[in-house]
Subunit: 329 residues, 2 copies
């Protein structure tokens, strides 16, 4: 498998993207095409070990800025590293694309260049989140802020196909995020989506409430992109706040300092267990091709894992499975 990596995307590019690419080629059976400014990439490669022929460079002269509007970037930056990387997939020179750059531009350009899968109305962003028993997939995490019931039904199919391929689980439990377990609970959108989803050709387990998101009762949690983004961001913000508040309380008590030293490895383990870097990136599902957005703050490890997920998705043909299962609708 060949993965095109936007080497210029992310807060620490190209140093960290190049490092992640090298690690991916060392650890996995895949190749990486580094797309971006050739001079900068060559410089980043220079002082690193493990550079083999599994890495190559494709030059692009432009970089999308994080503050740019997606519509403007598409129109004006035709030689951006994001676009060039996506075009490699379109031309069949790469099997998948990864970027830690502007997620809106990545989504819009993937859609523009690769198009949608047949029977998909709205591609969605899927995000892996940690929970008590491992992790779950949240779809849509922010691409579509105003959805129709049919879109949520389709998100279920997309999440199902992705989860089966990447987590190797036969019948992932698909749930609808709502405000009560009964099918009569929810807003107009979720109540109508429930009616579609209960007859879907996947393992729909019904509504779950926000409080159940992290208990591991569902593998794939479906919601519209506005709700998904709020749920995701509230979780990130709260997790940070709780750790800060705990630390404040701990330093406020006499035995706190010593106690903190003793539990510090546990906090490190907790952080590792809940680190987004473990999951690599968020696949854009419903696109006619394999496209993954990584966090802007991605570490080399996050980039490495995103490259691996991209390669697995392409190898297993997740986008073909999605197209296949959507034929049923």
């Amino acid at each position: 498998m060949k993965v095109a990596l936007d080497a210029m995307g992310g807060d620490y590019a190209p140093d960290v993207t190049v490092a992640g690419a090298i690690d991916a080629t060392k650890e996995f059976d895949l190749e990486v095409i580094l797309v971006g400014n050739e001079t900068l990439i060559s410089n980043a490669l220079k002082d690193k070990k493990g550079v083999t022929s599994k890495l190559s460079i494709v030059h692009s002269s432009e970089v999308v800025d994080m503050t740019e509007k997606a519509s403007v970037a598409i129109r004006k930056k035709k030689d951006s590293s994001i676009r060039k990387a996506i075009e490699l997939v379109k031309k069949g020179e790469a099997d998948a694309v990864v970027s830690a750059g502007h997620s809106g531009v990545m989504m819009a350009t993937s859609l523009f260049i690769l198009g949608k899968l047949p029977n998909v109305d709205r591609p969605a962003i899927a995000t892996i989140m940690p929970c008590l028993t491992g992790s779950f997939l949240l779809i849509d995490a922010g691409a579509n802020v105003d959805c129709q019931p049919i879109h949520l039904l389709q998100f279920g199919y997309m999440g199902d196909a992705y989860y089966r391929a990447i987590f190797k689980k036969d019948k992932p439990r698909i749930a609808l995020l709502s405000i009560g377990e009964e099918d009569t609970k929810g807003n107009e959108l979720t109540r109508d989506a429930f009616k579609f989803m209960k007859d879907a050709n996947y393992n729909f387990i019904g509504n779950i409430e926000g409080k159940d998101m992290f208990t591991g009762v569902a593998d794939v949690i479906v919601c519209d992109g506005f709700i998904g983004n709020i749920a995701l961001k509230v979780s990130e913000g709260l997790a940070e706040t709780i750790l800060k508040m705990l630390k404040m309380e701990i330093t406020n008590i006499a035995t706190g300092k010593l106690g903190y030293l003793m539990i510090k490895p546990a906090i490190r383990n907790f952080k590792k267990r809940t680190d987004y870097a473990e999951y690599g990136g968020a696949p854009l599902l419903g696109i006619n091709g394999t496209s993954i957005v990584s966090h802007g703050r991605s570490s080399a490890k996050a980039i490495k894992n995103a490259i691996w997920v991209a390669s697995e998705m392409a190898k297993k043909g997740v986008h073909n499975s999605i197209a296949e299962s959507l034929k049923a609708i």
Copy 2:
């Protein structure tokens, strides 16, 4: 001030409700009317200290079950403790009402008996939540799952009046929960609500994202009831999960047991600081009267605080301030 308390509401009623009522009459300058089964209430009062003439009983023969539908309860249980307590406010025999019982029935019955304030389209549930710098008010936390922009505008007015009265802050910062700070970010509902809110007669500070909810940037956070309920429940669930995961990690390391003992008081302080009991209950804003729903699992302390908040709201005439400020629309 006289507060009517649904003595039969909540998981530990009437023992805990009665205890909370006694504590409230001891600590604050107010009277409590205990509404419910006279025999059970008298029994609960029997072995308790501090029973004075500031407490009285009004008998009711029925109790609303937690599984009942609001519409059915209103039609069939005309002598329920919730309804009788609300009727005391209607008749002018009490200044405010508190229940830790069925929140849906409490909302529906308050609306049915007391009615809406003039210029209020939809009464809403407001919830106090802890954050890094203290606490903030989330409105609507679940009463209205499908809202129009005008409703969010009104929620802002309601939250503003409540916050000024209870938290004694002159110009509380009112924010709209969305998925980006710019006014162009959000879904159709929030984008349109933003246009109204920016001209509102309160201190509107614009959109905030989910990640900022707990940093203390806003005093009042406005959203529709579906989003609010998801944000609230995700937060509750995540906080529980994080503490569980941390504890698991701590018991997994050699120095964990001892370290945990040393930081245990800090965890207790953290729990106290984030305990809903500190805030007492969630006011139903927009009702023509003072009505507060408490958590089903309310402790005596939570009931006591809810009684206090109810009495303060009535004393300051929060519902009149809401009506007054809504005239401007």
